[in-house]
């Protein structure tokens, strides 16, 4: 689920929103591994290439002397980021069934009881293939790491009251969201050792090294195209999706 659906996706989202309370994923194991052979080794090499390791800097430490040195407690309080190996996960645990209760009261209003998404709110479960014409991307078929689910729910959800859940509650709803996506069983208990081990089907679905420039246009100046080859493939003229650009802000909600 993207924050910026194009028109067709948006229509799809609205259409699917009313399909409602069916478990989004039919069950069984996830779709086959993505075609491109990304492995831990290639990803490691790519990361090394895009972020060279520093030899360190220490000549000017404390040169200005402004500010303060934070206390260990201050650093710990703000260190909420979690890494794929589980670094940053706090003690605590939560089960799928505990998560179901918390989800029903704190999340389902927007995301639907089974993660199917109310209205245009994001779906949290999807089994669509990423090669589909209009893939619905969610935790089960797109997210590469289960730890990121914990991290994101902890820092940003529930949307109206971010960072208000206890670690145990975050573990529980994370377990529930993973279970909705058939990534873990009904008896799964999430904690700092089990989460990094959850197998995510799209773990190697990401190319980490930017392949651009992947277009190689040339600055042709004349006779660049045959006039007969040029035709309009689409026009926004009659699409009817453009909010007004004068007067007060538009509140249009096209069907």
């Amino acid at each position: 689920m993207s924050s910026f659906p194009d028109r067709t996706t948006a229509a799809l989202v609205i259409a699917l929103g009313v399909l409602g309370a069916v478990r989004a994923i039919a069950g069984g194991t996830q779709a086959a591994a993505p075609p491109d052979a990304q492995t831990a080794a290639t990803q490691h090499a790519d990361l090394a290439a895009i972020a060279p390791v520093s030899k360190g800097e220490d000549e000017l430490v404390g040169h200005y002397g402004y500010g303060a040195v934070p206390t260990a407690q201050q650093i710990e309080g703000w260190s909420i980021a979690v890494q794929p190996d589980g670094t940053g996960l706090p003690p605590g645990h939560g089960s799928v069934s505990q998560g179901a209760d918390i989800f029903a009261s704190q999340c389902a209003a927007c995301h639907g009881t089974f993660g199917e998404g109310e209205g245009r709110y994001p779906k949290l479960a999807s089994d669509s293939k990423l090669t589909d014409e209009h893939p619905v991307k969610a935790v089960g078929n797109f997210w590469p790491y289960a730890t990121t689910v914990w991290d994101y729910i902890n820092r940003a959800m529930p949307f109206p009251a971010p960072h208000s859940l206890s670690p145990d509650e975050v573990y529980a709803v994370t377990a529930y969201v993973l279970n909705l996506n058939n990534l873990v069983g009904d008896d799964f208990v999430a904690d700092r050792t089990t989460l990094p081990k959850v197998v995510m089907p799209n773990r190697f679905g990401f190319i980490l090294r930017d392949p651009r420039p992947d277009t190689h246009d040339v600055a042709c100046m004349s006779d660049c195209r045959k006039p007969s080859d040029i035709h309009i493939t689409s026009s926004a003229e009659h699409v009817g999706l453009t909010p007004r650009t004068t007067g007060p802000l538009d509140e249009m909600e096209p069907k």
């Binding site: 491109d36 200005y64 651009r212 277009t215 026009s235 249009m252």
Partner: protein, 433 residues
């Protein structure tokens, strides 16, 4: 009498304040004269009542004094020039975007009040006295800075654009939005003032083996992205000033990260934490979001740089042509990989091109203005611009992009924009084969 004065000369002017009303009697004689002039001007059917030879009311009265607007505002005649959003695009307005009205931007600097907004959890109201920036992780000496501390460090000012990589994201499958504001308005350019990260990281020291930095915001999303340390040391800054005043709340008051030339969301707003480590964090915003799905199902991640792009800002759907004659085509070009080296213009849909004039200043990773004279014969036309940057990269067509990336990437659409000009002067967003 006073009423007719207002309808004639004051139509649309500021609502009369107390002093203005007091002057009504004095200005009344002027109104009579104006009326006579208007009658004489009737021979010229389009001439407004204030046109010569009339001396309009605003020239024959006193305006409000210097205490009237302690913080200035645009003329209220410009009330339509505002950021606008696309209500159907997102579930709500707190994780959403508003667009810069580029059709009204004269120059390379985006007015602070018109600079596009992208929020992931609404705009937080951050108290600068309580806000802190923490730098920790693989450093020799962790640091906690307040805004006053930050302002003491050596400062620099630079002009850079910031563009959301979703700019143009609704157009991958076809032309959808008939508006420059909505096809290209997720960009703004400002003069930013702040402190280099290299200065701050010199102060904390960096441990050997460090390679990545996590930047995190103080908003409800605790928005976070991983950035290579090398980029941070190259040209990133912590910003507190925007176009000569404090950074706007919409842009991250009291401090934000500036990552020149890289996609907008990495320029973390309301910046509160920089953690230095060895590996990226693979945050939700760099895996589930801000990654581009390719036709084979793979997704590109860490596609940070904004590649060369340009758009014609006149004519455009919001600013149509008014009859055949001589015009100046105007536009903006930018690249996250350096300076714009040239922009070419086509009015026949890309069959022939000619160079536009780049208007100084031409700055690296900044909006660059271009202009080209165009004698429009009043016949249908297809207006395009094509940017080339100092790396030699040439802005592609949407057809070229789609051939490689398909229709689902959402992000990084830097394609050539085509404006269809019809014989009546109206302008439409179209895509060509």
């Amino acid at each position: 009498m006073q009423k007719s004065l207002q309808t004639q000369a004051g139509a649309g002017a500021a609502p009369p304040g107390r002093r203005f009303l007091l002057k009504g009697g004095i200005a009344a004689t002027g109104a009579t004269l104006l009326g006579a002039a208007a009658a004489r001007a009737a021979a010229q059917p389009d001439a407004p009542p204030a046109a010569p030879p009339a001396d309009p009311d605003w020239s024959r009265s006193l305006g409000p004094g210097v205490d009237d607007r302690p913080y200035g505002q645009p003329s209220h005649f410009e009330k339509d020039v505002i950021r606008r959003n696309v209500p159907w695009l997102t579930a709500g307005t707190q994780s959403s975007v508003s667009f810069t009205p580029l059709q009204h931007q004269d120059g390379i600097i985006t007015a602070n009040g018109l600079f596009f907004e992208r929020y992931h959890a609404g705009r937080p109201t951050v108290d600068p006295a309580q806000h802190r920036l923490m730098i920790h992780g693989m450093v020799d000496r962790p640091l906690l800075l307040d805004i006053e501390d930050l302002r003491r460090f050596p400062s620099e000012s630079r002009i850079h654009f910031i563009e959301c990589p979703a700019n143009g994201g609704m157009e991958w499958r076809g032309a959808q939005l008939n508006s420059l504001q909505f096809t290209h308005g997720m960009i703004g350019c400002a003069e930013w003032t702040g402190v280099r990260l290299s200065t701050l990281f010199g102060e904390t020291g960096i441990k050997p083996g460090a390679a990545w930095v996590l930047a995190e915001g103080a908003d409800g999303a605790h928005m976070d992205r991983s950035i290579p340390l090398a980029k941070c040391l190259d040209d990133c800054m912590v910003i507190y000033g925007q176009n000569g005043e404090a950074l706007r709340p919409e842009q991250g008051y009291p401090m934000r990260l500036l990552v020149p030339g890289w996609q907008g969301n990495i320029n973390v707003k309301w910046l509160r934490r920089l953690q230095i480590g060895t590996q990226p964090w693979f945050t939700r915003e760099e895996t589930a979001q801000y990654t581009e799905s390719m036709p084979d199902g793979m997704a590109r991640a860490f596609t940070w740089a904004i590649y060369a792009k340009s758009v014609v800002t006149f004519p455009c759907p919001e600013r149509p042509m008014k009859g055949a004659g001589l015009y100046e085509i105007r536009g903006l070009a930018w690249s996250g990989n350096g300076r714009i080296s040239r922009v070419d213009i086509s009015t026949d849909g890309g069959i022939t091109w000619r160079p536009a004039t780049l208007q100084p200043p031409v700055l690296s990773k900044a909006l660059t203005r271009f202009t080209a004279e165009w004698r429009w014969d009043g016949k249908p036309a297809m207006v395009q611009s094509r940017a080339v940057d100092e790396t030699g990269f040439v802005q592609p067509t949407i057809a070229q992009l789609r051939a490689i990336r398909g229709t689902s990437p959402i992000y990084n659409n830097n394609s050539i924009q085509t404006w269809q000009v019809k014989a009546d002067g109206s302008v439409f967003n179209v895509q060509l084969s």
